[in-house]
C-alpha cells in the first residue's frame, strides 16, 4: 500500500518561504529536518514557478540536509509528536520532536452575482493556473478585488501576453495614498508596488496603459456557460466590459486548520505566537501568514526565527527581532489599507450562491441564527472544501467565525483513516 514513516527533530509543514526559511536555519543548526507539502514542488504560492529570490532560498535549502516530502497532505494529528499525511499511494506517518506550522494563506473570495461562472477565478488563482501551463496570450483579463497581489498578478499576466484591461481595487484612493506614504519608510516596497502602477499609467510608445481604478469593484459577472463580461461599479456609475477571465480576490486569509487541530490559541487575524514564534502548544511553532497576513519578507524572517528557536539558538534568533518588527509595521499598514469596505456586503443578491460546494444561496444563509445552525440546516461549509472558500465570505458578511476543527483537515480516502 505504500505507507511510509519518517522521524525527525523538526517537522515543517509548508514548503513556502516561511517553511523553507525555518527548515534552513534549523538544518544549519544541526537538527534533522523534514519539510512536508501538498504541492509537487516547493515554493508555496508566491514562489510558484520560481523567482530570483526563490532561487537563492532553494539553493540554501539544497545546501543543507533537509528531507522534502512532496505531494503529501497532512490530515490528522493522532497524538503529540505525530502527524499523518496522505500521499498518492498511502499514508505517511511523520514523527517529530518540534513542529513548525507554515501553512500559508489562501485568497478571500466574496460572492457576487455570476461569480461561479467558469473563468471567474481568484487573482492568485489565475496566476497559479498560468504558472502551471494555462496559455493566457491574447486573452482579455480583468483583475479585481483588493490587495497588493492584484498588482503583482496584473504585471505577471501582462508579461505572459494577456491583455489586462484594468485593475479594480476596492480600497479608496485616500486609503492607498496613506499606504503609499507609509511605503516611503519601508525599504524596497515602494518600487515593488508603485512602480508597477507608474508603469501602467505612464504613456509609453508601445506600452499599453492598464487602468488602475480605486474605489472600484465588480458587481456582476456575465455569461451563459462561462464568463463573457463583467459589470463594474465606481463612484455611483456602472459599466460593462467584455472579457475572457476575471481574476478576483479580496486579499488573503491564513490557513489555520492544522493550527486549530493542534489546539493552538488563535487571535483575530492569526495564531498567537511568542517572540520566538512558539504557539501556545509546547514545541509547536508557527511562522508566515499563519501568524497574520504580512507578506513575503515577514514570512522569511519569522521562518528564520522559528527555525533558530526550534534549534535552541535563541540568541541568534534575537538578532532578527528588529527586522521582524519592521516588517510587522509594514504588514499592519498593508492590512489597514486594504480593509474591506462595507459596500461589499451588499454585493450578493438573494439567489447568489455563497457556498459553492453545496450551492447554498445568500438568502438561505441570512435566515440562519448562527454559523453552526447554517452548517446544519443548509450544509454550507460541509462540502469538500470544508469551508475554506465560503468561510472568508461568511465571516465578512455575517461575522461568523469558523469553529473547532476535526480530522481529516483535508478530504482523504477512507483507507487513510483506517
Amino acid at each position: 500500500m505504500g505507507d511510509a514513516r519518517h522521524v525527525c527533530d523538526l517537522l515543517v509543514v509548508g514548503a513556502g518561504p516561511a517553511g523553507l526559511a525555518a527548515a534552513w536555519r534549523a538544518a544549519q543548526s544541526g537538527l534533522r529536518v523534514a519539510v512536508v507539502d501538498d504541492n509537487p514542488t516547493p515554493g508555496g504560492q508566491i514562489w510558484r514557478g520560481g523567482s530570483p529570490e526563490a532561487r537563492v532560498w532553494f539553493e540554501r535549502v539544497r545546501s543543507v540536509d533537509i528531507q522534502l516530502i512532496h505531494g503529501a497532505r497532512v490530515f490528522h494529528a493522532p497524538q503529540a509528536g505525530r502527524l499523518l499525511a496522505e500521499m498518492r499511494d498511502g499514508v505517511c506517518e511523520l514523527n517529530f520532536t518540534s513542529l513548525v506550522l507554515a501553512t500559508g494563506a489562501r485568497e478571500r473570495f466574496l460572492p457576487f452575482p455570476g461569480w461561479t461562472l467558469p473563468n471567474v477565478m481568484g487573482a492568485g488563482g489565475l496566476q497559479a493556473l498560468v504558472k502551471t501551463g494555462l496559455p493566457i496570450d491574447g486573452k482579455r483579463v480583468v483583475v479585481a478585488g483588493s490587495g497588493p497581489l492584484l498588482l503583482a498578478v496584473a504585471a505577471y499576466l501582462r508579461k505572459c501576453g494577456a491583455e489586462v484591461l484594468l485593475i479594480a481595487e476596492q480600497a479608496s484612493t485616500a486609503m492607498l495614498a496613506r499606504f503609499g506614504l507609509g511605503l516611503v519608510f519601508a525599504e524596497g516596497k515602494l518600487s515593488q508596488a508603485w512602480a508597477l502602477k507608474k508603469n501602467f499609467s505612464r504613456k509609453g510608445a508601445k506600452a499599453q496603459r492598464i487602468r488602475y481604478l480605486t474605489g472600484c469593484w465588480v458587481v456582476e459577472a456575465h455569461g451563459d456557460e462561462k464568463l463573457e463580461g463583467v459589470t463594474l461599479f465606481r463612484g455611483g456609475k456602472r459599466w460593462q466590459i467584455a472579457c475572457d477571465y476575471l481574476a478576483c480576490g479580496f486579499h488573503l486569509v491564513p490557513n489555520l486548520e492544522l493550527v486549530e487541530l493542534l489546539g493552538c490559541t488563535i487571535d483575530t487575524g492569526g495564531v498567537r505566537v511568542d517572540e520566538f514564534q512558539q504557539t501556545t502548544v509546547s514545541q509547536v511553532y508557527s511562522a508566515g501568514e499563519t501568524t497574520g497576513i504580512g507578506g513575503l519578507e515577514l514570512s522569511l524572517v519569522e521562518g528564520e526565527i522559528a527555525g533558530l528557536a526550534a534549534a535552541g539558538k535563541r540568541d541568534e534568533a534575537r538578532t532578527l527581532f528588529s527586522a521582524r518588527e519592521k516588517q510587522r509595521k509594514f504588514a499592519a499598514l498593508l492590512n489597514r489599507t486594504f480593509a474591506l469596505r462595507d459596500e461589499l456586503k451588499q454585493l450578493p443578491a438573494a439567489d447568489t450562491i455563497v457556498c459553492r460546494c453545496e450551492d447554498v444561496t445568500f438568502e438561505r444563509l441570512r435566515a440562519q441564527s448562527s454559523w453552526r445552525a447554517a452548517k446544519l440546516q443548509t450544509r454550507c461549509g460541509m462540502g469538500p472544501c470544508q469551508g475554506r472558500v465560503c468561510g472568508g465570505a461568511v465571516e465578512f458578511l455575517f461575522g461568523w467565525r469558523a469553529e473547532s476543527v476535526r480530522p481529516p483537515v483535508l478530504p482523504v480516502r477512507i483507507d487513510s483513516l483506517i
Binding site: 440546516q377 460541509m382 462540502g383 482523504v412 480516502r413 477512507i414 483513516l417
Partner: protein, 376 residues
C-alpha cells in the same frame, strides 16, 4: 422576562422535542420551546436519519411501526431540505446463521403486516453491486426510508411557530420547577407543564432519569451516486445495540439523496468527550470496508461524534414523571429517536390531554422503571 404562562414548556429542540412542540401546538396548547444551542444540534445532528421498523422487542416494533406510518402520512409535506428518500433497508446476512435470522425477521414482520423481500446471494448482489461477493443474502424492507434530521427538526419547529408557539433559542435551562423553567440568565418561563426532551442532557435537569450517554461516530464521504442504493445494515447490528457494557461497532451505511455515503455505527459507554476516538473510528471503518471493499478508495469529507440517550431497557421514556408534578419526559430514544419522534409526540400529547393513546403507552412510561433514590 415574559409574563405569559404557557401551557407547555418543551426543553430541548432536537427532533423529539420539536415533534412534541408541533403536536402540542396543533392540539391548541400554547407552547414555549426552550433550546440552549441550536435546533437539532444534539444527537439529531449526529444521527443517521434512518426511518426504520425494528424488531428488537414488541414494544420497540410497535413504536417504530406507528411512527413510520406517521412519517409516511406527512412525507409529501416535508420540505425539500429534509431529503426524504424511500430507499428502503437491506439487512445483510453474511452467512447461513444470519440468513436464518433474516428469515425469522421476515416472518416477524409478515405477521405484523410489514412488507419485506428475502434476497438470496445473487439478488443481493444485483440490488447492491458494491457489496463484497460471498455474502449469503439479506432481507429488503422497502417501506423504510431516510431523511436529513436537522432540517426535519427545523420543519417541526416552524410548524409549531405557525400555530403560535414561541421559541427561546440559545437559552439554557438552569432548573425545572413546579411553575415552569428557570433559565441560567435568571429569567423564568412560566408553564403549566414542562417536557424534558433534552436527550443525553436530560439527567442534568431531572436527576433521577436513568439516561446515559452512548457515544457514536460517523463519517461522510463525497458524492458517489449509485454506489449504494439502500440503507445497508448488518444483521449483527442488534448484537451491537444490545450490549450494555462493551464498546462495539456494526456495519451501517446510508446513501444520502446527495449521493454522499453516511457511514456508521459505533457505540461506546462512559465516553464523555466529543473527540473522534481513533481506535473506534478505525474499527468502524474496518467493519464497513469488510462489506463494501470499494469504500476504501472513496473520499471522506468529515468525521464527527454524537451522544445517544440510552436507557437500561432500550426503550424511551415517554410520559409523566413519577414524582415531580407537572413534568413529562420524552427522552432516552437511543438510536431510534429520528424514527420514533413522531410516535413519541402523539403519545405525549394524548397523555397530557388525558386521552387514550393509539398504541399502548405502558412500555414507555417512566413509571415502568423501578424507582431509584434521586442522586444529589
Amino acid at each position: 422576562m415574559t409574563c405569559k404562562t404557557f401551557d407547555v414548556a418543551i426543553v430541548g429542540a432536537g427532533i423529539v422535542g420539536s415533534a412534541c412542540a408541533a403536536e402540542c401546538a396543533r392540539e391548541g396548547l400554547s407552547v414555549a420551546i426552550v433550546e440552549a444551542g441550536i435546533i437539532g444540534g444534539g444527537a439529531t445532528a449526529a444521527g443517521m436519519g434512518h426511518l426504520v421498523v425494528m424488531d428488537d422487542s414488541e414494544a420497540q416494533f410497535a413504536l417504530t411501526r406507528y411512527s413510520q406510518q406517521l412519517w409516511n402520512e406527512i412525507s409529501d409535506e416535508l420540505p425539500h431540505e429534509v431529503e426524504h428518500d424511500a430507499c428502503g433497508t437491506i439487512w445483510i446476512a453474511a452467512d447461513d446463521e444470519e440468513m436464518a435470522e433474516a428469515l425469522r425477521k421476515q416472518s416477524f414482520y409478515a405477521e405484523r403486516g410489514v412488507r419485506t423481500e428475502m434476497l438470496d446471494a445473487q439478488s443481493l448482489a444485483e440490488a447492491e453491486p458494491s457489496l463484497r461477493p460471498g455474502l449469503a443474502g439479506g432481507l429488503r424492507v422497502p417501506g423504510d426510508s431516510v431523511i436529513y434530521p436537522p432540517c426535519a427538526a427545523q420543519f417541526f419547529v416552524d410548524q409549531a411557530l405557525a400555530k403560535g408557539a414561541e421559541l427561546f433559542l440559545g437559552k439554557s435551562v438552569e432548573a425545572i420547577s413546579a411553575d415552569g423553567v428557570r433559565l441560567r440568565d435568571g429569567t423564568a418561563i412560566a408553564a403549566g407543564l414542562v417536557v424534558n426532551s433534552a436527550g443525553s442532557w436530560s439527567p442534568m435537569l431531572t436527576p433521577a432519569v436513568d439516561v446515559k450517554k452512548r457515544k457514536g461516530h460517523l463519517v461522510i464521504t463525497d458524492r458517489y451516486p449509485g454506489f449504494v442504493r439502500h440503507q445497508l445494515v448488518e444483521l449483527g447490528y442488534l448484537k451491537s445495540a444490545h450490549s450494555l457494557t462493551a464498546d462495539s461497532v456494526a456495519f451501517n451505511v446510508q446513501p444520502r439523496k446527495t449521493g454522499q455515503l453516511l457511514i456508521g455505527s459505533s457505540r461506546q459507554y462512559g465516553a464523555d468527550d466529543s473527540h473522534v476516538d481513533n481506535s473506534m473510528l478505525t474499527r468502524m471503518l474496518e467493519r464497513a470496508v469488510e462489506y463494501l471493499p470499494g469504500l476504501r478508495k472513496l473520499s471522506s469529507l468529515r468525521t464527527w461524534t454524537g451522544f445517544r440517550a440510552a436507557t437500561p431497557d432500550k426503550l424511551p421514556l415517554i410520559g409523566p414523571h413519577t414524582e415531580q408534578q407537572r413534568l413529562y419526559l420524552a427522552t432516552g430514544h437511543e438510536g431510534l429517536g429520528i424514527t420514533t419522534s413522531l410516535g413519541t409526540a402523539k403519545l405525549l400529547v394524548a397523555q397530557i390531554m388525558n386521552r387514550a393513546t393509539e398504541i399502548p403507552a405502558a412500555p414507555y412510561l417512566p413509571a415502568r422503571v423501578p424507582q431509584e433514590p434521586a442522586h444529589a
